[in-house]
């Protein structure tokens, strides 16, 4: 067994700082494989780029492979080998969602794998189980949460009344339900947000028409909140701070595009409403 020989050779000059002290050894291919999986999960669940790079680098280095380098933007991960005859891997990310639970799980993994002592097969199995797990909240819960968030925002903006609460709940709920219904067709983010803005405009106007006690402003702003790109914006700023200028720029551009598309949808709804001759 060549692996055992190598290990026993290294054990003599190992200090307490040695990377391999308490880890089961892995080949470079296996480490690259696992690091790539970690990066994929993180980037697909909406982590900031610096966190992806940091986690992957830390994983590679703790196994002693100091010549692996990571470059990551919101749409691609490149894991390259600096040594001659080294191989590199590329992964292209097209669809990104937000899943704080997965980010947290992978974060726990990257801080604890020294203690868990997983070998390649075990780590791979753990990562696959994380990827395959169902989301903790189903579509119905998400829609109700969007409605509740919208309603609470409508109350935060002043002139709190029960009418506003109910109307904002309905508006946010209907917009999110529509989004979930068209989700299977994989529309581009622009059309998704456009649809959300449009439906918010129409439903809010209808509510104000039916109940004159409702405040149009509060309902619309409350219902817009779940669709504003708060996460993209926050991540963009954090990427700037970490020195990833490329991903910071693209995240901020993404946030601006999303906000603009919601606004265009809303404006379109208001215009259609006036063209239709309704008050």
């Amino acid at each position: 067994m060549p692996e055992e020989k190598k290990l026993s050779g290294t054990k003599q000059n190992m200090t307490s700082f040695s990377p391999l002290a308490d880890l089961t050894p892995m080949t470079k291919n296996q480490v690259m494989d696992l690091a790539m999986d970690l990066g994929k999960i993180l980037l697909k669940s909406g982590a900031e780029t610096s966190r992806v790079e940091d986690t992957m680098m830390r994983f590679c280095r703790s196994y002693g492979y100091y010549d692996l380098n990571v470059f990551c933007t919101p749409t691609v991960i490149i894991l390259g080998d600096e040594s001659p005859r080294g191989k590199s891997r590329v992964f292209r990310v097209r669809w990104r969602a937000t899943d704080l639970g997965l980010i947290r799980d992978v974060n726990q993994f990257s801080y604890n794998f020294r203690r868990w002592k997983l070998d390649y097969a075990g780590a791979k199995r753990w990562l696959q189980s994380r990827l395959a797990r169902s989301h903790p909240y189903g579509n119905a819960v998400i829609c109700v949460a969007a409605g509740l968030g919208s309603a609470c925002f409508a109350m935060l903006l002043g002139s709190a009344s029960v009418y506003n609460f109910i109307a904002a709940f309905l508006t946010g709920f209907i917009a999110m339900t529509l989004l979930k219904m068209v989700n299977n067709f994989h529309p581009t983010p622009f059309w998704e947000n456009f649809l959300a803005g449009f439906s918010i405009g129409i439903v809010a106007q209808t509510c104000c028409l039916l109940y004159p006690y409702c405040t149009m402003e509060n309902i619309t702003v409350g219902a817009l909140m779940p669709f504003l790109p708060g996460l993209a914006f926050t991540n963009g700023v954090r990427d700037y701070m970490a020195g990833d200028l490329l991903s910071g720029n693209s995240r901020i551009a993404e946030a601006a595009l999303f906000a603009m598309s919601v606004a265009i949808g809303l404006v379109f709804a208001l215009k259609v409403w006036t063209w239709g001759g309704l008050p």
Binding site: P2, E3, K6, N13, T15, F17, S18, P19, M26, T27, K28, N29, G46, A47, E48, R51, G64, Y65, Y66, A97, T98, D99, L100, G101, L102, R104, N107, Q108, Y111, H135, P136, Y137, V141, A145, A146, L148, G149, C152, F153, M155, L156, L157, A160, E217, V221, L224, M225, P226, L228, G230, L231, F233, T234, V237, R238, Y240, M241, L266, L270, K271
Partner: protein, 172 residues
Amino acid sequence: MMHYLQSFVFAFLATVAFGVLFQGPKRILWRSGLIGGLGWVVFIGLKEVFSVHSFSANFLATVTIALASEIFARIWREPTTVFEVPAIIPLVPGLGMYKGMNYILQDYAGYGSEVLLGAALDACAIALGIMMVSGVFRALKTGSDMARQRQQDLLGTAISPDLYVTDPEEEE
């Protein structure tokens, strides 16, 4: 007092709802809700009691949220993002954006762009707050990481080719 309690409760609920929207794990939901409520109460308190400009109020509230989530992250060993992302959401200037757009639609472009500029300034204040706090904590963290790495380099264990486990396939 009643007003602030009511605001806190609604901000708490909104933050929890956003935690659910972002698929946050169940056991951190109420903690991020606490941070969100705290940030919103600081924001309206500064605005209404001390009549601070909305830029400064946003900035200070964001700093409060970021600091609180860094502390919570240290206590419960979670990543900072999990607390910070839902808690920031109540501060996002949605009202200004909507108002400005609406004024522009009704041909009051001058007033509308003024309101939009105010909203953009508020967003900048939030960004500034996050940047300052996360920059300080990042500097502390990378500082300790670098120190450890330098020690490994001095010991000669960091970039030792002996440590590589190679398999014959890879060598080829």
